[in-house]
Symmetry: D2
Subunit: 412 residues, 4 copies
């Protein structure tokens, strides 16, 4: 395939082998200057030494963008407030892609680049998430996705190419799972996980990174208390923190107690099923705390409708449709529901269990007196007869009609 | 209140204090013969000595109806196949009421009774579930619900009345939680649980009955393998069993490993929130196994739609709307989805955790080759470019339009 | 029944027979001063002479509250933007009740009243709508609903009582339909309409009031152009008007052309079906215009999700749940979707038909070039092969699996 | 592009220019024998002379498959029972594609063909519908879609090619709309319709084919009575007919009275909006009749849930996902709801209006006595007080709580 020429290409760069080999390859094939961009969404040490590496490999510049707080405040928290999970998955990779793509577009515009390149393969969801975000902000820019078409399509060729171009081969793919890490989670795919008949090696040393397995966790539980204001976590165990700090703190304590490990076969947007093991220690604790607080502060109708909205919200996030009018409108809905989600939740973390200990809120709709056997001022038990008569009226009418008509279908 | 006279009243009878006092009271107030009916849905020893007790208290007859297999096959399994949970609650009490009410109606018709009496209070869901089922099958029969209006509305009066009528007072309500038990679950309400700020005493000896707490569970995990045929469990660890036997077996092993304890504040149908602790050891294991099998045997569209249908299905079950055209139509939907839900699921039970070990099915839609990095015959990675272009087209069109129009709302 | 005494009762007063007889009856039975309140939501001439009538009948004061603009801006328009219809019904009575009840509560508080009385029967929806709104704003106030329990429960007794108390009997109920009128609509119930086997007499002179029937409408069509800004109508045929004036104008032109007549059997909240004929001439035209504008300004995902949200929104409005957190959150959703719903819609009104003539918007997402057969810059037809391959991949995987397995269920 | 060689290609053939030119082109490019297949789904005279034409153009065989009854019974009626419309569109083309594709696969298998070719462009929905069905039944067969990639991509080139190959040019595309016709409907796209600012020329002679416009329809209305058994239409005006005959009859009478013309901008599956004018005279009448019958025979919960299910059902049909487990499960749901949908519906057709005249059913759930003002045996008006108290309890609890707490959010 004859390739178009570009002046400047902005590359989404992680420092791993798959994006490192792209630098010389893009230069050779498109004749372009390469601007590498790494978005820091809390992946930690993965960013050390990145600049040197990028420049050595041929990039003319590396941007390391600290997006952590924006990631947490504008993407993670709104999704947590929605209670959105995709087939139970807490969307860790899903909402990291749009924010990185958005920043890459900003840099591409500033740099006057004429193309954006990413290192996603043609089989995953990330290509969609990256490209949808790019299209939303820069519909005119070209997108290059070499892993969908290029000639280095085997491990051997890739390694040979890397060696020929002096790219360090720290990672040995054959013996490593495919991983994605950020502040919120770490995902594991590939190798023996590819067969759902195989148990995930969560007890094997070195497999888990953010957490230990339930079996490895201490025998003594740890309690943790989270305070929320209007659905936003504001303190842990009485210490005020930013949401980012709270997630860090909960990662620590949740991970130490074996919380938040998920092993599922999920349905990718691009049509196939895949198996993943996810560590989301702090996120899982936070979701549970928020859910417990909503139990006492939201009315039934809001809670139930929100449950079904969360299913669609999760689809949008998973599918990379963050920058859409529908996601935005759903967030307006969710934000409105959060105005009374204020209070304290204490959870006991014990060997993978997250056990509710205490939930309180100044805006609690729970009324002990009303639920109990005893009399109270607000509830007259004789009301329930009337309630049942009308609630059951359609059934009664049908049953009465059925007595008048022979063989009324569906009525015994 | 002047009371109508009846010839024969059929009473839903548990043998507890609340239904025992109803026998003399109904006779005194309505001048009727009392036929007591107890439905066995697996509550176990609670049924011992019941006949003697009922007759002694003044009933002229006691029916003990063994409904366990019908309960499991026609109510529990279809609900489990739907994946229905009401605010996470596994509906243990909810689907037990309709089957008992249905049998009571059958007996009332056989006996020529002119009224049915139940011992539910005016604050709970069970009154609704009982009465809706009665209305569906016998819209013409009178229903008496003394706990909604009668004069024995304090614990003291009830006890005094019981003593005056020689009714044994085995149960001391003041120090006991309100419980409901059957094969599927055991619920706990009342006392200190009434304040969501109080931790449920799951580690306190004697509180839990079907299970131990995660902390009390053994340090060694137990694996269990369940086989399903078209969504129905047919064997455990290779031993063929009826669904009832499977639930018994899973209760044993799940309960021993601290699985299936749920502590929630839920929204009752009659308008208030209440707090309950539920033990559903076998049920929770069974739901998880079934869910894991669906992960590999259902396609995405079916799985996702089923998730939202399950929310409504759970509402119907919780609300006592079992005998409605909608519940029936939903079951037709669910049954259709189960035709490929055949296979084996192995789960590891460990201190409250239910960890997937292995999932296999002859009808698995999971294709390892397709999900991986490597090439395969069925998936051409270049297809994804086209997919993304069309999937993202609405976003791109909007972004392009926004470039032509000043201040296009919602586009940066 | 012994009745409680009150000092001051605020009465929701329409001037019709059913609320007129309540004034002397309330005074006699509760010994209270009666403050009558009529809310003007555009019912027009029904309000003439009302004050004289109320005072003559025994009220100490009559408030006539002009709520029309608030009704239109805060209730009608947000519901129209949601596209909400309840079983096709445009909710005319439904959203009029909450605003009136809210104002009545305000007056009750100002007047220091200790009870509120309404004239709704026990079989309709309006009692629910009134009382839910009252409970939301004054949970402590008593509500009196005489039509649910009183002794004047036949037409004869009511008329005798009215004559004995010098209440004018302008309306002869026996020969009149039950009607409810406001700016938005007029409903008809009762008499021969009660049997769905009877044709509604829409061609009978005097039946319809806001409109003529399609058969009676002129042979020449009328075009009308409505401009919207962010989902709010702001002009008709180029003349700027308030939303209230726009509805008046559209009532005129829509009614003259036989538009907006609906004849349905609907499901009341209180459990039974009822038959109603509704005239909503301007409203029906406005809904259609708004819908046509959304067709070109909303993206598919937003449009489709909004369709399903509208079903629940309509339930809430119909059920009187206007002042709930869920309705409020849904309005936040809808408002967010309206930011691009700006443009012009021309409709042809012809003998009951509302035919689209022209739709334009500066924010249109419609791109003529893209939809046509011919080439364009933005759409590469070869993309669709990739799209189809991935969109259809689950089907293909299933079909391929089915070839490997004998008797794969559901695959021929 | 180098093309693969095939022995035998089965071509979906309509006889129009776009599929006619494919015959010589496929032979030249793939060296294959061409088997043409036309599916008769009621498009009428379009099929005359087709065999001669196909053979003359180079096909070795033409199959004309009469699929009309299967189309109506297995595709149209189940969709009508679901009440499914896609953005109001009655899905005429959508469900015709899967049945034709299914038969083409059968013929391809019988003939031992190694590829299937269709004449859909890369911008429409039909390519998806065809190919999904082919993948479902023959995942291994190659699909050729020349209009997505070929060199005859302008009208001029196509005509030149046709003339060079002696293909008759009956149709002059430049002055004709793009149309799709079958028993159920006729669609119009293209030319001046491409701009939603242009009025559809429905009054222009020759535009409409199955119907006249409302303005052209007679001044005298026509009544029509349809009988249904379990949701299937079985007679019109007392004359028993097959569903196919009923649609023919209703097309005649509905079309003569200007019924069933729809003019919308819709969202195609492949990402863009398009404008279409649809004639569905009989179908629109049938949908309305069925809907009226459901109004009195379905209970509220079923009706409402079915409304939301219909939205997804329509998506599946529109998107070509007919042969999916989800569509099948949804049909199981719908079928279950139809068991009481038996009765008679009379509609008045008048200049585009479809006005209900009478609805009756032996299984009607409508009870006149219950809805009216007067007393009845089944409904005790005092029940509604209890109903309202519990239905409104969440609102009341919230309002009471708000009185205890300062600045309770969301409560005035």
């Amino acid at each position: 395939m004859e390739k178009k020429k570009y002046n400047k290409i902005v590359l989404a760069y992680s420092g791993g082998l798959d994006t490192s080999v792209l630098i010389p390859w893009l230069k050779e094939n498109y004749g372009a200057e390469i601007i590498a961009v790494s978005g820091n969404v809390g992946q930690g040490t993965e960013l050390d030494g990145l600049e040197e590496k990028a420049l050595k490999t041929g990039a003319s510049k590396l941007y390391i963008e600290d997006l952590t707080d924006e990631f947490v405040n504008d993407y993670v928290i709104p999704t947590m407030q929605a209670g959105a999970t995709y087939e139970q998955y807490l969307l860790g990779t899903s909402f990291a892609r749009p924010i990185i793509a958005k920043r890459i577009v900003e840099i591409a515009k500033k740099e006057g680049a004429d193309a954006i390149c990413h290192g996603c393969t043609g089989k995953g969801n990330d290509q969609v998430r990256f490209e949808l975000a790019i299209q939303a902000f820069a519909p005119e820019i070209d997108i290059i996705a070499p892993w969908r078409f290029w000639e280095l399509n085997s491990r051997e060729k890739e390694i040979a190419y890397a060696e020929a171009h002096n790219i360090p081969l720290k990672i040995n793919k054959e013996t490593n799972y495919s991983k994605d890490k950020n502040l919120w989670h770490l995902s594991h795919e590939g190798l023996d996980l590819e067969d759902p008949a195989n148990e995930a090696p969560i007890n094997k040393p070195g497999f888990l990174e953010m957490s230990v397995s339930p079996e490895q966790a201490p025998d003594v539980p740890t309690n943790v208390t989270i305070h929320f204001e209007k659905g936003v976590p504001t303190s842990v165990d009485g210490v005020e923190m930013t949401p980012t700090q709270i997630i860090e703190k909960l990662n620590e304590v949740g991970g130490a107690n074996g919380c938040g490990i998920l092993d599922i076969v999920e349905n990718r947007l691009v049509g196939m099923k895949s198996r993943g093991v996810y560590e989301t220690p702090g996120g899982t604790v936070l979701y549970k705390a928020h859910e417990k607080l909503e139990e006492i502060t939201l009315d039934k109708e809001t809670q139930h409708y929100k449950q079904s909205l969360a299913l669609k919200f999760a689809d949008l996030v998973y599918n990379g449709q963050w920058y859409t009018p529908l996601r935005k409108a759903m967030t307006a809905f969710v934000t409105s529901t959060q105005e009374t989600v204020t209070g304290d939740v204490t959870l006991k973390l014990y060997k993978g269990n997250i056990i509710p200990v205490s939930v309180t809120s100044p805006y609690s709709l729970y009324s002990a007196g009303m639920a109990t056997f005893d009399e109270d001022d607000c509830y007259d038990q004789s009301d329930s007869a009337g309630f049942i008569h009308l609630f059951g009226l359609p059934l009664k009418v049908r049953a009465l009609k059925a007595k008048e008509v022979e063989d009324f279908p569906g009525v015994e």
